[in-house]
Symmetry: C3
Subunit: 268 residues, 3 copies
Amino acid sequence: MPVITLLTDYGLDDEFAGVCHGVIAGICPEARIIDITHGIPRQDVRAGAFTLARALPYLPIGVHVAIVDPGVGGARRGVALRLSDGRTLVGPDNGLLWPAAGVGGGVSDAVEISGSRWRLEPVSATFHGRDIFAPVAAALAAGHPLETAGEPIDPAGLQMLELPEPRVEEAALVASVVWVDRFGNAQLAARSADLRQPGWSAGGRLRIDSPTGESLTASPGRTFSDVEEGECVLLEDSAGHLALAINRDNVAERLGLRIGDEIRISPR
Amino acid sequence: MPVITLLTDYGLDDEFAGVCHGVIAGICPEARIIDITHGIPRQDVRAGAFTLARALPYLPIGVHVAIVDPGVGGARRGVALRLSDGRTLVGPDNGLLWPAAGVGGGVSDAVEISGSRWRLEPVSATFHGRDIFAPVAAALAAGHPLETAGEPIDPAGLQMLELPEPRVEEAALVASVVWVDRFGNAQLAARSADLRQPGWSAGGRLRIDSPTGESLTASPGRTFSDVEEGECVLLEDSAGHLALAINRDNVAERLGLRIGDEIRISPR
Amino acid sequence: MPVITLLTDYGLDDEFAGVCHGVIAGICPEARIIDITHGIPRQDVRAGAFTLARALPYLPIGVHVAIVDPGVGGARRGVALRLSDGRTLVGPDNGLLWPAAGVGGGVSDAVEISGSRWRLEPVSATFHGRDIFAPVAAALAAGHPLETAGEPIDPAGLQMLELPEPRVEEAALVASVVWVDRFGNAQLAARSADLRQPGWSAGGRLRIDSPTGESLTASPGRTFSDVEEGECVLLEDSAGHLALAINRDNVAERLGLRIGDEIRISPR
């Protein structure tokens, strides 16, 4: 059974995601459709890109559609990418697919699908999910070869996405918040190894400073309940990133953190 | 594979939509269920009606359940409607199904299902989605003929829904907001042709006045990025309606627009 | 076709629920997955437990995964429970599964699955939905016997959940709010029979007092529209509980009610 996954910033209150399901079901009724999420913050290409990359290793090999597309109908291309691990990515060429392509071993073949024969006609200027991305994904899932979906393009010309990296600054580790989940846990663009700084004691308590001027003390830990209720833990999350959490409370709210903010971590 | 689609105002935080899936899966396990949306504003029959009509052309022919039902358990009837294009609509007879019936070519046969043999017993007074609409839809999707689902009724007696129409008033086009999407784009009850008023220059800039007293200047365009970031565009949306948007911002928030509001469009 | 249902407090904005779908589809592609809801209030084990119990009778017999798990990665066990009616429950042993187990006739067999052979390796400390509960559920849905999923444990040792009971106090019936739905209707831990108190006239009007000091008058009724718009009705809801509602308005907002609050009901 072919698998198509969807990740968008459409939300679920409009009919947009449901209509994409409908279009796919009409073209490739045997496909199983998995909604990764439709809750990417509106037009936040980076947040969508990182979420897709986090999810991909746990999804069956399939056609993975991602749509966070503020430039829809404008100059940006629509693309379908065959990855080295056999997955196919479909979406706008605006960096959204870039980290996921890396997770899948890189792009082996790429086509531009803006004028694909598998499009729905007429193509609207504002809803390419319905008119281009969903029907092309369905045709690919139904077994049509990638080269039938559009014009071949050079993978080297695909839009890249700069990945945030942690840095050391005045004896502090500075890391970006890449995601805030429903529980208020803040995923950082940093790994456990980044905590091994000269002069920092392993497992020692840490001071966390947010850009809003708030600060608190965090203990390194494995899971939320390694600290008392209401206390802050810095742990390696399920995606292998450092993440900041408060046991049974919301650290993002407490520190006023949002995606893209930089926090400073230093020994207490 | 039979297709059943669901559109409701149940939201996704309660178990209501999931329970409808469960009831259907128990009766017609081979059906594919597509959630159009469960995010219709609470008890807003008109918003639900227009959303269903917008989505329908992109859904496979199937049984289409819609539930926005403030009168549940009261005098309003439950109905199943066979449309000329082969679709079946199931839901309350309160106008919700009316525009979709038109999209499907009109009603060829109608039955009242309030006392359907396919109901779940006992029938609750407050959750007909679970007890009447889902099981009747599942029975129809499983191949039971429409006439087994209830008592025949005259399609001419179905509850209609008045569709808002644009009007010209003091050299302005006045149009209702029929939907505000997640991006804050405001869909209007008007078409591009309505902009061709005597003395209006084609493609000229327009003044938009909201009922809250806010106003702004909009340029006609094809897509969001046809105007600079933060500027307003009046475009034909993916459903063929005029819609107001701000490139990378939220026009409904900016103008304080809600569904049902009337805006005035005039040459700048 | 095997059925797996999911109930969590993950929300739908993160990729968590989608990733659980992906893991299941990889292990048991023939399973139908039904999302009961992912909108349980964060870490509210009681709310999740009651919601699962309300939904269960309407779901096909299957493997029912529930995850509201503030103690993830800590001392609490993960379990799979075979019920007398043939259902299997999978989730943390923190009381979440307890009411549903009762609905299904009680637990006939139980295994601890924290170290299950069906886990995904490596197991994270914070996302057992992905690494333990989803893959174990998928293996069970694929037909692997319960005893292959973990170590047998004594059902008598499972974590219970105290169920709130109504009580009579100074000529008032005091009942907890166990759920507030999208419409603001407040489900109570009480049944119609509890209204039959000595000296109370059947069908008489009632005074409702909320802990915030607000009060209003309610009429007993069958459904919302049994009272005028804006008036309050006390009805038996679709789960057989007493519930408080205002016709076309939001009683929880009006009275400031939240899950766990106690309201007082007395003759007017």
